[in-house]
């Protein structure tokens, strides 16, 4: 773990008043390496390490505390702060249904997360959710959401005229007339570099004006996290992130990259395949995980 690595490097600091000079060089190189191994993007790791070095340079060695421990605390605290300090809740509308749009790369967990969100809203939050299946491309995508909706007792609006925009529009209208208070729109997975598909999302956003656009990202994504998140954010200004498959053993450094590059908070984490496996985001826990 990072703690042991620092103990080794910084044993020489005992008794010194300041962490400085080449000690910081060695330590920050170790942090950078650990972050890269955790899938943090190259650029984000570099910027983060520079900030940590700056804070460390001025720091006094805490009496009785191993320099390594203090250094890790600086890293840990900065990481927690970057990840968003505390939990960012879902934005809910004051009048008319809240519209939540799920977007992201192929296979990230959008359809499953849409259903999980519906379950959370219906159950713990006592609301009346409505699901809209706007993935008109993937074989049996609509059926997948329909099965999940049926298991939850949540209605699922099916595609109209093989047109995602029309489906979104009519789905919202149906939800309004049925007095549902939350509409969750599932969209097809797509590449951020697919111009036509990204424009489809832009049109849906322009028309429906969602209260939340959630970028659903697979927690095991590597360096591509920044490329995808940056493009999705530039085009859609997504308001939150769902980080999925955290029941795996990936370090999840992509969360740090996505947050650093877009400023959007992680609002939920997916922690399993069952529909109850959606948890609010705990920055402390993810920081521990990224640091290994």
């Amino acid at each position: 773990a990072l703690q042991e690595r620092f103990d080794g490097i910084l044993r020489s600091l005992k008794g010194q008043a300041k962490i400085s000079g080449s000690n910081i060089e060695d330590a920050t190189r170790e942090i950078r390496r650990a972050l890269l191994e955790a899938d943090v993007s190259v650029q984000v790791a570099r910027d983060f390490v520079a900030r940590v070095a700056e804070e460390a340079r001025g720091a006094e060695v805490l009496k009785g505390v191993l320099p390594g421990q203090q250094f890790v605390k600086i890293v840990h605290d900065q990481l927690v702060e970057l990840l968003g300090g505390q939990n960012a809740p879902l934005v809910l509308a004051t009048g008319g249904p809240t519209v939540i749009m799920m977007v992201g790369l192929q296979g990230s967990g959008k359809t499953t997360s849409a259903a999980k969100l519906a379950k959370l809203l219906k159950g713990k939050m006592g609301r009346r959710p409505f699901l809209v299946a706007a993935d008109i491309y993937r074989p049996a995508a609509v059926e997948q959401l329909a099965v999940l909706g049926r298991d939850l007792g949540v209605p699922v609006f099916r595609p109209v005229d093989n047109d995602a925009l029309k489906t979104a529009r009519l789905g919202l209208a149906e939800a309004q007339s049925g007095h549902f208070d939350t509409v969750i729109l599932d969209t097809a997975g797509r590449l951020h570099i697919d111009e036509g598909m990204m424009q489809e999302l832009e049109r849906i956003r322009a028309e429906l004006n969602p209260h939340e656009i959630l970028f659903v990202a697979d927690s095991m994504i590597g360096q591509d996290a920044v490329r995808a998140a940056r493009d999705f954010h530039q085009r859609l200004a997504f308001t939150g992130v769902v980080l999925t498959k955290l029941d795996g053993d990936t370090r999840g450094g992509a969360a740090m990259s996505i947050r650093a590059v877009t400023g959007a908070p992680v609002k939920f984490t997916g922690t399993g395949e069952k529909l109850d496996a959606l948890e609010p985001f705990h920055p402390e826990r993810l920081a521990q995980r990224i640091l290994g």
Binding site: L36, D39, A140, I193, I221, A228, D247, E273
Partner: protein, 279 residues
Amino acid sequence: LGTGRRVDEAMLDELEEILLSADLGVDTAERVVSGLRERVKHDADTPLDRLIEEEVLALLKPTSSGLVPQAENFGDQPRVVLVVGVNGTGKTTTVAKLAAREKREGRRVMLVAADTFRAAAVEQLEIWAGRAGVDLVKAAHGADPAAVAFDGLNAAMARGHQVVLVDTAGRLHNKKNLMSELDKITRVLSRRLPGAPHEVLLVLDGTTGQNALSQARIFTEATGVTGLVLTKLDGTARGGIALAIHQELGLPVRWIGVGEGLEDLEPFDPSLYARALFE
């Protein structure tokens, strides 16, 4: 990087960044860079981009593409391919693409829908079977996947199919019960037909980072992976972790997925791949 540039430390740093951004991982990227630093000392003539390409290719040797030597090994028994991997990587779509390719090459294909767990998984493969024009064996939702695998292989052998492609449910490698389920599927196939599965393809999402290495290790332990498929390389990801996997486990990349359609599968070409790392 430009072919006219001389190799100095600044240039090597830049190269390392490119390799890291391609998900090679710290150790593999360092290995390529230090290998290059050495070569440049003894070789002033070879153009830089050739040198880099050779360093990367060295990591991929020996490797082969998806063109598996066929009929002579199998007589009148089907070749059985088991497709595995973590959730959402593109297994079902890859199975469909492989089926289409085999059919195009004149073989009778049987698809086996052994993902009996996920919502609409069987329906998804069924649609693909229809589009590819191949047969499908399925069972009721919630059936034992090993039983479906057995029934599928059985039916294929009875009806004289030449290739059996078994699609399995996505599963995270740290879930012991799911990995032992996979081990059971493998054993059941080999009991029905000694030597089966002849290929076990681990499907890796091309956007996956360092976690792909643990995936490869643990899936290999559970089910004897014989080759990799790297999907979603039509995006901006480069799947560089495949180099580290090949280094450590000797697993070759057999195929790459380059889109969501039936035709979007290509045999792995190491030279094209090495060059694409810099695009």
